[in-house]
Symmetry: C2
Subunit: 341 residues, 2 copies
DNA sequence: TGACGGTAGTAAACCGTTTTAGTAAAGGCC
DNA sequence: GGCCTTTACTAAAACGGTTTACTACCGTCA
């Protein structure tokens, strides 16, 4: 409540100049024990804490990084953010977080924070196709941005992705190996890299098995439960119904499960289901969801570490790191029932 | 990349003083169209953005609030944080987030940020008993802190809680009404308010039904899945086993489900289970979890709104808001089986 | 004795805004 | 023409640190 004390007051009380206090506090100087003790005591008595803005202004660094995610309440992003926070704090940075709700205006607002020096760097996670404005901003702030999980085309920044194509293939191959032929795919939005890659993996595995799925076996939706629930309807109305669905994310798989439950379609008896993400919760679903697990922690950790390294003068390179995925098989898949097949 | 331009450069280019630029940009002045146009043009050409630290230093406000939670990857806290972020951004603040991992040192570090002026206010969510240090800090920063979800005893701050006692009673009453008598409770840590209140609700409902549960029917654990899974073991080894468990949080209920699954105990056939929190995911669990739903969004929203109101000069009052809970009944509860009863 | 080097600091510039207090010029009114 | 008000600004002082360049003093050594 009471006015904060300043370095000048501390200096006065300790009988030295502000410069001495500052240099001693920041470890840039050693002083005789007597003097140091006086400063220490003055700091203690006045409960002195350097003003953050003044320090950051003077230093020219914010000692904070930002992360923008489509929705912080989504566990996938929360996990990444949690890991980023851990890395940031360890390196002496604070983490500012923004939920973009997938609106590009809100994402652009985060770049304003970067431009104004409020943060030193930004981890960017989008979930939609860029119209060029994001790429422009990323490039403008070269060396202070990393792109995570989803691409921003033609942007000059390091990228941290997973093996989407391989994941899509692996998921589909599992279903094929179980004996399925009518395997549908419900994936993320048109034009979004991860969605394209996962769908390609699905299609590639299908073709390799000599299967050419009809167009209506490929449904596009958002990476969120509600839209996915709606979008899944179409797949349940195809006759004969697909015997298996590869969902482009766990959230989408949840939508499929809701739809199935509502229609009395039993998983895995009537329908096999595979998701993508490998969220911790899925092993407890009814039934436990088979999913292509991403190394979510590593994604957040590597991206944050790289961002901080760049900020602190490390080399800039617009390379792409592709982390491997891992199929985790659970109760949501089974061979197609005799009836369905 | 290139050096940021300053207000002085803009002023020079526009042929006015820095003061004019600042006052015009901040809306404190109206200028003739000609002059305004020159400034606007200079801002555009130089791509000028006021330096955030300088502005905040000069203004004496950080225009940022902080939130400290035990674990941002936990959906419960992520939901609160998401709502806080929404409120903050609407009010023109940024949100800085810290995961304390329930370590008091990390919580105290957040108060340093408050003391240093890096943030204007703090939303505090703890999950452990305070040794007095937190209360001390909260009181020291009177008017800039709100306490959410879990109490910090003797701290001078507004509080935002839910009706834990009523929730515990309601959950237990449901189980009693279904015919259960051997109802155990596995709740949060000793000494933590929400855990005490929920357990009291359970005990109160039991006593009202003329049941006096043995001590071993009350197990203490953390509000997290892993510890709860371990702690639940004890309940499964009681003979005869409880026919129902009221878990102090959804995370704890998940632990019970894992334990039950591992032992081949069927929910709800062999064991009824009720959680607390009402996380969105629980309706998709196998089986869908009955739970006492908290108004999580409202908790985050009200707390953030109040914090900002206080920061901006609103009145201080160390009152406690108690939000109502709502029982959401799903497949995880049933009457006790004849065998078990 | 005077040059040299180390110790213990300090003065002042600087970081980039906002804001207060004030001024010069123009316009209106009698 | 003189007085008052408004308009259109500006100078300079904060805000609270950090950092660079410099000094005064002391001891040592040739």
């Amino acid at each position: 409540m009471s006015r904060r004390s300043t370095i000048a007051e501390v200096a006065k009380r300790a009988g030295v100049s502000p410069a001495a206090v500052s240099r001693w506090l920041n470890g840039g100087i050693t002083l005789p024990t007597k003097t140091a003790d006086r400063i220490r005591e003055a700091v203690r008595i006045l409960d002195y804490r350097p003003n953050a803005q003044a320090r950051r202004l003077s230093r020219g660094r914010a000692e904070a990084i930002g992360i923008v995610v489509p929705d912080i309440a989504n566990p996938f992003f929360a996990l990444i953010a949690g890991e980023a926070e851990r890395v940031a704090v360890e390196a002496g940075y604070d983490l500012v977080i923004w939920s973009s709700r997938n609106r590009i205006e809100r994402e652009l607002a985060c770049f304003e924070r970067l431009a104004s020096g409020f943060i030193d760097g930004l981890m960017l996670i989008t979930n939609h196709e860029d119209d060029g404005r994001l790429a422009d901003q990323v490039t403008r702030h070269k060396g202070r941005v990393v792109i995570v999980d989803e691409d921003v085309r033609d942007a000059a920044a390091p990228r941290f992705f997973v093996e989407n194509f391989a994941g899509g293939r692996t998921a589909t191959e599992l279903l094929i190996d179980l004996g399925h032929r009518r395997i549908a795919h419900i994936g993320g939005p048109v034009g979004v890299m991860s969605a394209i890659e996962r769908a390609s993996g699905w299609l590639s595995a299908m073709h390799d098995a000599g299967i050419d799925p009809p167009d209506r076996f490929h449904v596009f939706t958002e990476y969120e439960v509600e839209p996915a629930t709606k979008a899944a309807e179409a797949l349940f109305e195809i006759s004969p119904r697909p015997t298996a669905i590869f969902a482009g994310s766990d959230a989408i798989a949840l939508g499929v499960m809701i739809q199935a439950r509502g229609r009395g379609v039993s998983i895995p008896n009537d329908l096999s289901l595979v998701g993508f993400d490998g969220l911790p919760i899925i092993e407890l679903l009814g039934p436990a969801l088979t999913s292509v697990a991403q190394p979510i922690d590593a994604l957040g950790r590597f991206a944050a570490e790289r961002l901080i390294a760049m900020i602190e003068g490390g080399p800039f390179e617009a390379d792409t790191l592709r982390l491997p995925v891992r199929l985790v098989q659970s109760a949501s898949v089974a061979p197609p029932s005799a009836k369905a097949a």
